[in-house]
Amino acid sequence: MKKKFYHGEGRRILKKNDQSQMDSMERKVLIELLYQLADDDFILAYRGSEWLGLAPHIEEDVAFSSINQDMMGHAAMFYQLLEDLGEGHVDILAHGRSSKDRKNAVLLELVNGPGHYLEKPKFDWAFTVVRHYFYTQFKKIRMESLKNSSYQPLADVAVKVNMEIYYHLLHWKTWFMQLIDANDEARNRMETAVQQVFDEFADVLSYGPNGREIAEAGFIDKEEIITQMWKHQLLTVFESVNLSIPIKIKTKSGKGREGFHTDDLAVALSILSEVYHIDPAANW
């Protein structure tokens, strides 16, 4: 058995390889964190997949599909960790849970824009680029921290996810920089999108009602540390493109970590589960 030590808060927290090494509170908050990780990637991968055939050009279509596939893979890994902790089968965890049981941040469930993807959608590419870029930057910092998680199976998954999102981050950052610098109209639309995303981003950064316990068990660094690092990364990029929007983050539409979601999520889940119930054995 591996025995690694984690240095956090000046204490040494013993690495845990399975749930027998945890008390009931630790187990409970670990499960909560895993639902946040899994549900975040799951719903944003779905929103991404709705762009299929509608992205600005064919190369982007290929790239975006590949990113969505990776993200679904990441969600599946986190659902697998939940299955290993006795939460049920991965497919049920991904497709069989209702809106109020979901722990994803509300920002990630919001529609890509007005219109249904089958009938004349008016999807907002600026909003998509900003949402994906800010989220992926956050995910990168979150994974870096999880690499030192006191729960070893989660740390192992984080190492793998972290390598793959290197490419995602590169992709979205490139789009962000290009559109911000393109022309006045593009810049205006991007600035509106940045504001929109900031208005919901506090929910993404939140660990929910048991945030303190999650960090104290050494599963991940404290919320404030991750938030600081995320802001710092964004500020550096903002400065390089002379963007002076203050980073004022809010939760406008709901609190996803507590199960308070928008109708957008319920609609998305009913479409997803329709597809799932037609052929539950299909690969997703």
Binding site: S65, D70, G73, M77, D156, K160, M163
Partner: protein, 160 residues
């Protein structure tokens, strides 16, 4: 347990997406353990969204079953250590090239760019067309020397 026998069988399991290269030369085989009553093979998944993983597991089980040596065979995917692109063997790199895919670059520069040689003419005068190719593990490039588009395996490293 005859490890070489197992390894030989595993050499016959190819990547479903690139059938020129075996999972051994891809660096996916981490451990072969157990005895004749129970064999355990531990594999490392390459990219996680890769739909080929289930096919690989099935093919491994089939090939090993055909040896008629082991009573029980268990094939597991593990995440520690993580698969990285430097695990591809030298033979594997040649096999990728013969398939028209540039092997993963050995180093990445500061801006995340990498230098890739054309698998057809070895020229370094190439440009990245799309970081994301038809599958999770490949990118699309273009050779300005022989004017051929080609694919390259993306580097994956824990330093990223």
């Amino acid at each position: 347990m005859n490890k070489n026998l197992v390894l030989h069988a595993l050499h016959e399991v190819k990547d479903p997406e690139i059938d020129a290269i075996s999972i051994v030369d891809l660096g996916m085989v981490e451990a072969i353990r157990g005895d004749d009553s129970k064999l355990v093979v531990e594999l490392l998944p390459t990219f996680m969204g890769c739909p080929a993983l289930d096919i690989i597991r099935k093919n491994v089980e089939e090939k090993l079953d055909r040896l008629k040596v082991f009573n029980h065979i268990e094939v597991r995917f593990i995440n520690d250590p993580p698969w990285t692109s430097d695990r591809v063997s030298d033979l594997g790199r040649e096999q990728l090239k013969s398939f028209g895919i540039a092997p993963p670059p050995k180093k990445i520069n500061e801006t995340g760019g990498w230098e890739v040689g054309c698998p057809y003419c070895d020229s370094l005068y190439t440009t990245m067309e799309n970081l994301f190719g038809p599958t999770a593990c490949r990118s699309i490039l273009y050779c300005k020397s022989c004017k051929n588009p080609f694919e390259a395996m993306k580097p994956l490293s824990t330093m990223m």
